[in-house]
Symmetry: C2
Amino acid sequence: MSTIYDVARVARVSPKTVSRVLNGDAPVGRETRAAVEAAIDQLGYVPSSAARTMRSNRSGLVGLVTGAISLSPDQPALSGLPDLFIVQGVQRALEAAGMTLLISDTGGRSDRVPELIRTFVQHRVEGIIHVADYHREVSLPKVPQGTRLVLANCFDAAGTPAVVPDDRHGQDQLVARMIAAGHRRIAYLTLSAEMVATGLRVQGYRDALAAAGIADDPALVVEADVPVDDPQAEMRRLAEALDHVLALPDPPTALCLGNDRMAVRAYGMLRSRGLDLPRDLSIAGYDDYRAIAESLYPTLTTAELPYAAIGTRAAERLVALIRGADGAGSAPEKVPGRLAWRASVLPRAPEHQAIS
Amino acid sequence: MSTIYDVARVARVSPKTVSRVLNGDAPVGRETRAAVEAAIDQLGYVPSSAARTMRSNRSGLVGLVTGAISLSPDQPALSGLPDLFIVQGVQRALEAAGMTLLISDTGGRSDRVPELIRTFVQHRVEGIIHVADYHREVSLPKVPQGTRLVLANCFDAAGTPAVVPDDRHGQDQLVARMIAAGHRRIAYLTLSAEMVATGLRVQGYRDALAAAGIADDPALVVEADVPVDDPQAEMRRLAEALDHVLALPDPPTALCLGNDRMAVRAYGMLRSRGLDLPRDLSIAGYDDYRAIAESLYPTLTTAELPYAAIGTRAAERLVALIRGADGAGSAPEKVPGRLAWRASVLPRAPEHQAIS
DNA sequence: CGGCGTCATGACACCGATGTCATGACACCG
DNA sequence: CGGTGTCATGACATCGGTGTCATGACGCCG
């Protein structure tokens, strides 16, 4: 690997002049510049970021920690999937800011986080992003003085800058659109009640009902998932919840599920109960897990969990902090998701019109 | 950020002695060691990897490039998903080897690869892993002298060390098991014929038939996917393929699909044609995309695409190269996937037994 | 008891970039 | 024509570790 001294020798100038050509921070004679550039090309010289880091105390690196999977309710089996979209969003924003991304994951053991952070500190990262696999509260060890920290898809009690999905708005938007399509009896089979998202989304669901002047029927909201990763138990719970709402005296015409996987299961269960989808019952998911939503028949109407945007915003905030902005707004930043309206919610004529 | 000099001052020793304590590469007196360790703790000192890199020419970094998504047939919409499992596998293996992972992705533009590699070279990575989003041939720009390169989920014509899934064996294994379950007419609705995996898997399918002494009926093998990302066209193509095989004079009792997404679609299409699954027709996918396979009803029998293992093997090979092994075996290393036998393939009594 | 090996430690140079300061050559201004 | 400012360039020190070599104190061997 050639160095700036090699380039200087070949171009017959001093290393400092090569440095000036590289950084354009001081005037360099036309011919000198050409000679230096030729030497750089000839040698295939690439400056060493290690040497720059030493001199400038700026590494151009940002660390990203993912994981802490195992301690958590629901979803763990899926983990790693959403993470990646967040990571891609982060990567894009960082690259635009000229920074490079260092990654490590805990492999499910959150006790390893301090160790991973230590590795990042060795590399003198300018900031750290912690990505959670689902919207939740976390509690991270202190990071050393100058290291900035941003949380993505999670938040903590200490008011660390955080970026999370706007679950309330997402569910509100989805349900409002279903109401606009003519549905008034809309059941909501939620994720485990332990999850942060569940509370927020139920609020969103109620917001939409309230905005349309529809009374909230508690019997229509059922926890339909378990807080552990057990496909059998998940299936059972969902089946019970389905039975429950379908057996109501005034059964729903539409069903919101806690996520797209639950929707896949619901499709299968409902069909095996002889229902014709979406004619007999409209279905909506959550997450906009495209591999699922676009492949199901009928294609699944759902609300996007804006992973990439969360990653991008988290990275942008981190870069701002690095560039000197201060922590500012202590409330987590909420990122809205798109409404993915597909074919699983059928428009329905309001009843008084149906009679006429 | 404190330095080794700060530690030396606090412990009243020379920096070199601190270095010896850190690296354990020369004897240090008991009391001196204790004093140094106390100083390190007190200051929260973490050695600078930049300084070490400069002196030793070893950065402890490995770069990973993902992407080149947009130029490719099929799957692109999903991309990023499988990548992440590979990345996680890589990360785990690297960490075990004491190396740290640097990531960047092309955001779908493979022309940006050289630029990304340049960034890695600036950071003096000791090796680079290129991850493709699906099994394919690639052609990468030359990397500088000392930088080792390993391909994951892809291979090139230059014989660069590569790790790929064993598609042929995977399909063989799956079909063999279906035959063992009593199926003899097994249709195969493949991915786009342009994909490397398709050719290999068709071979595997034929291997299994041949091993069981079943004649290969060309009418049962149909390309059922299109080489572009167009959900509409994909649906149409799959529907035609289904119609084709179901209309055969001697229709199949089981169906292999090119991937799990196609299986999701097939479930919907077949049910809307009035079939009862899996009683009327057995179905198998490919990929073992758990979010799908475990949620469908009936749960999907499929062949695992061993992404994490591919990542791990690629990283292990890279570490071996860095530690001095030579390129060796020029053929890509094939990683076998598990058979994920679930509920969508129904055992079937052989016909002569059914009669008795 | 002199010589040699080991232990424990420190002084110093070096890795590759860049900030600071110095130097020489012009050009322009009054 | 001397002073001052800009351009173009180089010498040198510095960032934080670590390899090399030197030094002094013992302990052991013959």
